[in-house]
């Protein structure tokens, strides 16, 4: 049976890096998959890998993780829109949207490697490979 634990943005946004990673590891080390609203900062991702490496044993072989964006984060699509007015409107909309939703408008998945074999991300699709 697969077990997921959802961490809403308001729950982790007030935590510092160590507290955030402790929270993630507490769940992952109990063989559960973390679904975290929002994303880690690049330095936090590096710290997550560092701490994972420090915990590797015969039984805990690491993690699989990935951040998923609702629109696929595809920058090429934005360029196709050539109208200046449309671009400006979109830019203002983007700024407003990012101010209110930006940091929480994505989902970070972290799973123990013995359960989540791989997470493959293409611009339009996420494949979660589970060890069976």
């Amino acid at each position: 049976m697969l077990s997921f634990k959802y961490i809403p943005y308001r729950e982790h946004s007030v935590l510092n890096t160590d507290q955030k990673l402790n929270k993630i590891f507490n769940i992952v080390r109990r063989d559960k998959i973390v679904l975290m609203q929002g994303k880690l900062k690049p330095q936090e991702e590096a710290k997550l890998i560092e701490r994972t490496m420090g915990q590797i044993t015969k039984d805990f072989t690491g993690i699989s993780f990935c951040t998923v964006y609702p629109n696929g984060n595809n920058k090429k699509k934005k360029k196709k829109n050539s109208s200046v007015v449309k671009s400006a409107t979109r830019a203002v909309g983007d700024i407003m949207y990012k101010s209110f939703m930006g940091k929480r408008d994505c989902l970070t998945i972290v799973g123990p490697a013995n359960i989540v074999k791989d997470i493959r991300k293409n611009p339009s699709q996420i494949d979660l490979f589970i060890n069976g």
Partner: protein, 210 residues
Amino acid sequence: MIKRFKSFFTRYINKLFRNKNNVKLGFYGPPNAGKTTLANKISMDWLGEEVGTVSKVPHETRMIQTKEQVKIKSGRKELTFNLIDTPGIATKIDYEDFLKFKLKSKEAKSRAKEATKGIIEAIKWLDSVDAVVIVLDSTKSPYSQVNITIVGNLAARDIPVLIVANKTDLKKASVKKVESAFPQYPVVGISADKGENMENFYKELFRIIN
């Protein structure tokens, strides 16, 4: 706020005084992408010495390997580099994976342990490099979280990046896929093993540093 200011200030000072004549050039990427092969190729081209050994078994490089005072010429320009070959960054290491390469159990366990330490060391070195060549295997999907984490960390540190789509001599290679995954960075397709397109690689390398 103070932390942010301190970090910005440190980065600015480092950038200002970055010694362009002794560039610490890091080679980063996932395991088996060809980092050591490329570092060897460069070092052999300009110094006549190799940096490290290469192998089909993942995590062959488990410690930082350096080669200092490598003088490289491109066109009329010349720069001196310290090459820093880092262990491949991964989020998981299972010693059983090494058994598939016919390593003995004890050897595989020891390799796994050394590999974890190597990854920690590689991440720590992100704070000490002046420029980075990210080496990716162009026959594989570039959209892995490890690649994104490496790129994100270099961008956060304002470190110049050149992405190498390696192994272009192989049938499945796709430089375009790498380009579309990282449109904000220069990408150069090469075969480090066969020494293909190295001229362009050196040109792009000088461009990101200047």
